[in-house]
Amino acid sequence: MEQYLEFTGIGKAYPGVQALRDISFRCDGGEVLALLGENGAGKSTLLKILSGDTRPDEGGIIIDGRPQQFSAPYDAIKAGVSVIYQERQLVPAMSVMENIFLGEQPKTSLGTIDKKALRQSTQDIIDKFGLPIRPDELAGRLSVAYQQMVEIMKAYRRNSKIIAFDEPTAPLADAEIAILFDLIRRLKEEGRIVLYVSHRLSEIFRITDKIAVLKDGRFVKYLTTSRTNEQELIQAMVGRDIGDTYANLRRNDKLGDVLLEVCNLETEYLRDVSFTLRRGEVLGLAGLVGAGRTEVARAIFGADAILGGEIRFEGEAIDFSEPKDAIEAGIALCPEDRKDQGLVLWRSIRENITMPVLGRIRKGLFLDRAAEEHLAEEAIAKYAIRTPSINKIVRELSGGNQQKVILGRWTNSKMTTKLLILDEPTKGIDVGTKAEVYQMICDFAGEGFGVIFISSELTEVINVSDRIIVMRNGRVTGDVTRREATEESVLALAMTD
């Protein structure tokens, strides 16, 4: 029988927004279909409807010709749908095999769990995918990438006909992405239906067959991957031609004196790391996940102890005991995980922007509300943050606007920032906003900041930075200029001994 998944006229409204409007398209077995759109286009809502998490107001889902009514995620799973979200959904304290067979472990005749059969069946699946995971390992101990693989195996074990991925590569490094794509190709060969949500256009060309483009909750275009190009996709997504992002960046070419010197730095995670950064320079840190890039930022910021070597900032050796001291000295860190470490989601834009400068906006005993509002207005204007008010709760902003709030925090006029460390600033941000962030990075350099730009996306890190430090296993394996760097050469430095 023919395998297919069809959305027919799906509509969904939330208070104040029409999230989806008359979405209809179809995806066939043995195909990988990309679901593409900017943040807020409705991709997540559509996935939630597919997973039974949310019910549509109108329209429905048809699988292999049969209309489906999902009132809870359980119904969707029964109908053969597995959705693999950005947030992992494994039980960290359980083993890989228990996770894969969660709720349906093989039983012995006594009714207890048949560990032997469980281990064997799990090993069979692991072998099928050729992964170096042991069935007895605790899921929580695995790297993010392997946790994701376990989720895929879980979907496979459930015999899901339809497997949807929500930005699966966001936390992965390029080598891990290759393994993931390999798995997806296998699923496709077996005739399963794969839905793939991602912001990364290059991946969409690598892995998908068809592309459904959403914009503002509407379905705008259905394309065959082999017969389209980036320009066409971006145009469909943003409704305008953004041209060649990197070539159009207005860069800073006036380098100042040396701002930061890292000499033979050793920490628990780093070995013999050395590099320098000048004022007005954008220094990229490239490497796989776990290469030690974030750890460099942490050491500079005073979050990890320095065990050997030294860090010199404006010519003086620094070793901060807490972030507060680093901030006082003029170092700002935009952490990797916006929601977990960057923002106080339930507080307003205003409160998030003034966090590090509360001591500088006081009037006697009290906070100077007018000064505070001024700083917030300033950031909204400078970064074109889309919001009706400075008092809007940050949680209600899109990812791109949230990132701008963080940038606004560290560059507000009460700050004395000289070194700005941006750890994965474009993660989970749509293409249009990414281009804005790149320009901001160049502008920061233009204002005389030293900028450290950490990114797992090779293309952006080698095209935005003036110089690129490549890291692997806590060591520096390369130091190249933008002109010298190619994706191949940097990847080789990041991966080989």
Partner: protein, 321 residues
């Protein structure tokens, strides 16, 4: 249009539904007690009870907004009340005995803070355990008997009246509440509490030291607990073994009813005040209508559960919105 949506906001706000609940309680208890509930003498009783709960609520609110909790407030207050009685009995001048008793509350707070910040106990567990330590000290100090208090200054604090009807303790507690409200909303210190409660990691990376803050907040909570215990001892004219031990949940109930979530980062003194009104009206009303004290305990427990359910419900609704 503007006005309409503003009104709708007011009607939908949790405070509005609480005020409705309060009004309903007042009407019901007035009717059921044949007007006794609203007699001046009873209103004084309500204010007196409110004073103690208000002090406990303020202390614990600081911690709850920062995402922590203290269950030992009752035992702390009882011990401090007992210490005050003990010191006065042994001839210590009031100008020394009073500050020392308040300071003990702060020290107890710091002790809790060490358990939470240095040994990394969950606040719930740490303060549950320390409760029984402090209660033990109460027994040791009391040596099986309540200790009488005769000092007029202390008695004025507990029993004094302004223009015959307004208890000094209630005025003190409510004035402090205004001060706490201002601290929370207008100062750097207050803002830091909300930021740490909202996201401690982000706050730390923005130069706020959550650990230092937590020490301060536990100490403040301890001092407020102590003040509550001292006020009750003064009113009863003796340091008693029961003291405010059972009132600790009242402080938490009022805070949670008023919108201070266990998750931290939200709520304030305005809501806590409304929560106090509901709680005090409810507790007093049960006595006035002559409900059996055993059933009153059951009802108080149910009110706490109701407050917790409200917290869960609000959190869930926010997560969806």
């Amino acid at each position: 249009m503007e006005k309409q949506s503003y009104m709708r906001g007011v009607v939908r706000s949790p405070m509005f539904s609480l005020l409705i609940l309060f009004a309903a309680l007042v009407i019901y208890f007035s009717a059921a007690s044949k007007g006794l509930f609203l007699k001046p003498k009873n209103l004084v009783n309500i204010l007196n009870a409110m004073a103690i709960s208000a002090l406990l609520t303020q202390g614990v609110s600081f911690l709850m907004i920062s995402g922590k909790l203290d269950l030992s407030t009752g035992a702390n207050g009882t011990l401090c009340g007992m210490l005050l009685a003990f010191l006065l009995q042994h001839g210590t001048p009031v100008v020394i005995a009073l500050p020392v008793s308040l300071a003990l509350g702060g020290v107890i707070g710091l002790f809790n803070s060490v358990l939470v910040n240095e040994i990394n106990f969950q606040p719930f567990i740490a303060t549950l355990a320390s409760t029984s330590v402090f209660t033990g000290f109460v027994y040791v100090l009391a040596n099986k008997k309540a200790i009488d208090i005769k000092n007029p200054v202390v008695l004025w604090l507990g029993k004094g009246m302004i223009i015959n009807y307004i208890p000094v303790s209630a005025v003190m507690a409510l004035l402090l509440m205004v001060v706490v409200g201002v601290i929370l909303h207008k100062t750097k210190f207050g803002r830091q509490i909300y930021l740490v409660g909202g996201n401690a990691k982000a706050a730390m990376l923005s130069g706020i030291n959550p650990k230092k803050l937590s020490y301060k907040l536990f100490a403040i909570c301890g001092v407020f607990s102590s003040l509550a215990g001292i006020t009750l001892a003064a009113r009863l004219q003796s340091g008693t073994i029961a003291g405010v031990t059972n009132a600790r949940f009242q402080g938490i109930t009022a805070a949670v009813l008023g919108g201070i979530s266990f998750g931290g980062g939200s709520g304030g003194m305005g809501g806590a005040f409304v929560g106090l009104l509901v709680l005090s009206g409810f507790n007093n009303g049960m006595t006035v209508v002559g409900l059996n004290p055993y059933w009153q305990t059951v009802a108080s427990g149910l009110l706490l559960l109701f407050a917790l359910a409200l917290d869960v419900f609000r959190t869930r609704r926010n997560a969806k919105a």
